[in-house]
């Protein structure tokens, strides 16, 4: 079976379009509210959803996602409940679902058990922001046979030869971190982003998606210029926190990308 992530990128490529990926924190503000939000934004034009599996100590996240993670944990969210959610979502949707979580929740569940449960639920990929290629071997071995992609991150501080190596190891797509820093909305994208993304894309056999700090349509267009897609996270959480509608935001991002 072809992985849904690969399928989406093939389709988008044939249409000459860029992927719009949305991150939401699993169980924020509650599991039913998150469910509604995901269905809404997918309908409005999101191509791939990333579900954050909250961790108590998210060192790669800024205040917005720290807050939503803490709230979700206080609300009683667990990996098991999120697997159940994916299973339910799969009854109606073929949208790729990627879990984003830190190494400890995976480690605690056990790599093999995590892979098995993710596969049964219908998860397509996993992003682990505190997992570098030197430590990723065991998780690759667990996820690979389950048909789940392990998506690695590449950063502006990554030396060029290492960028090639990471791109070679990444499955589904390569997550290019736009800036040196944590997640969270920024007023502007860093200078030199285009050059960095172009370099990474030249080296990568898989599509390249840009994330961290993308806050609005203009930034999405700018970030997507050299890439295959963009990932928007904190800007969604921010709107969910303020009870602002998500659909107009998705539409504006979509228009920006399709016009790009």
């Amino acid at each position: 079976m072809v992985n849904r992530i690969d399928q989406v990128f093939i389709e988008l490529k044939s249409q000459g379009r860029k992927a719009l990926m949305a991150y939401v924190t699993g169980g924020y503000p509650s599991l039913p509210a998150m469910d509604r939000a995901v269905r809404e934004i997918v309908k409005a034009g999101v191509d791939l959803v990333e579900i954050g599996v909250p961790f108590s100590d998210p060192i790669a996240d800024g205040p917005t996602i720290q807050f939503s993670s803490q709230k979700a944990l206080e609300g009683g969210i667990t990996p098991a409940r999120l697997f159940d959610w994916v299973k339910t979502f799969r009854r109606t949707h073929e949208t790729p679902v990627v879990l984003m979580t830190y190494m400890n929740p995976i480690q605690t569940m056990g790599l093999a058990s995590f892979a098995r449960r993710a596969r049964t639920a219908g998860v397509d990929g996993v992003i682990v922001p505190d997992l570098i290629i030197e430590e990723g071997g065991p998780l690759e071995k667990a996820l690979g046979p389950a048909g789940i992609h392990l998506i690695y991150l590449v950063a502006p501080t990554t030396p060029p030869p290492r960028r090639t190596e990471i791109a070679r190891r990444s499955r589904g797509f390569l997550y290019a971190v736009s800036l040196t820093g944590v997640t969270g909305v920024r007023r502007a994208l860093p200078k030199g982003l285009g050059t960095f993304i172009a370099d990474v894309r030249r080296r990568s056999p898989v599509p390249v998606a840009v994330g961290f700090g993308i806050s609005d349509a203009a930034q999405a267009r700018q970030a997507a210029a050299q890439a295959d897609g963009v990932i928007v996270g904190s800007a969604f959480i921010h709107r969910m926190k303020n009870r602002e509608p998500l659909v107009p935001f998705v539409r504006s991002l979509r228009r920006a990308l399709d016009g790009a």
Partner: protein
Amino acid sequence: MTGFDRHSVPLLRDLPDVRGYFGAYGGRFVPETLMAPLVELEAAFRKFRRDLTFRRELNGFLKNFAGRPTPLLFAENLTKRLGGPRVYLKREDLCHTGAHKVNNTLGQCLLAKRLGKKRVIAETGAGQHGVGTATACALLSLSCEVYMGAEDMERQALNVFRMRSMGAKVIPVTSGSRTLKDAINEAMRDWVTNVQTTFYCIGSVVGPHPYPWMVREFQSVIGREVKHQIRDYQTGDPDALVACVGGGSNAIGLFAPFYDHKRVKFFGVEAGGEGLRSGRHSATLCTGRPGVLHGAYTYLMQDDNGQVLGTHSISAGLDYPAVGPEHAFYKDSGRATYVAATDKEALAGFKLLNETEGLSAALESSHALGSLPRLVRPMKNSQSVVLCLSGRGDKDMGQLTGILHLGSSDPKNT
């Protein structure tokens, strides 16, 4: 996680391995952004630890600035009171700034200087590492910012003032449990953001490779001195070494130089808080399970879903839900034994040393003292034990006046 052949017992020089593993523990679990600076740091440390100019400069500061070597005191009254083996105290409490932490901060800040980084950040629990970093930065003209849990700022207010008076900026951390764990989270986020200009000076043998190794090397001066100093009193090695374990740097500093001397027993004392069964403690090695926190695979206090648990200890410096990966390895391989001392036992340890030797230990070190009566019980009078008096109690006096009602006729506070 990989390691080496579990049947071969490694020598200290093979710990950690090239990937930063102590047996199954350690490694690098960090955002990719930090990989380049960690590689740079590792290369710099490998180079400068052999560099004569660097070593001369560091040793000069250790001697003339920090006051090393610190004495090894035969605690005669304490020995008599316990009625067991001879007890020696390694006097890290006499280090400038009042704790062993300065051994490490001088080393790391000198390294920061060599790397051309002008801004140093640190986390602190008890404030001793923060003070140590602020001191080294003042000495070396580096700018210094220290993350400290809001709760710890309250209980260690004196150290906040000391840091500020040396020109350091103290940043309160209000996320999570508002203690050391969260201060490290914030410091790592800062480092990820400012990696080009900033050196992260970690305060214990924790974090991603090369930190646990590098901090051990800087703290090993403790054990190396003991090796020589014990010769003034006896012919052989001591029979046992005792130290408190928060992240584990004073303990590793004392233990590691004796690692290959297999007849020397190691005892690490964790914070037992209100008792291991109460759930309110920080005894990671005694009760935790392996997991990943702050860049390393090590023992953690965590729930069934891998969420890190809140901790409690009367001492801010031990109030931490993880532990250095080298200790995790010492535990699994049986090289060291880890026990816990409760808040009450620590207070008893604090009083015991005051009364017998006229020395006021830090609350952290008081945990080691609190366990000492139990640890020496099976030992013979002809044997000897060295306890690391990792710091002095000045910083804790404010907190202690609220807890110990001395001079009152009420004896129940012991």
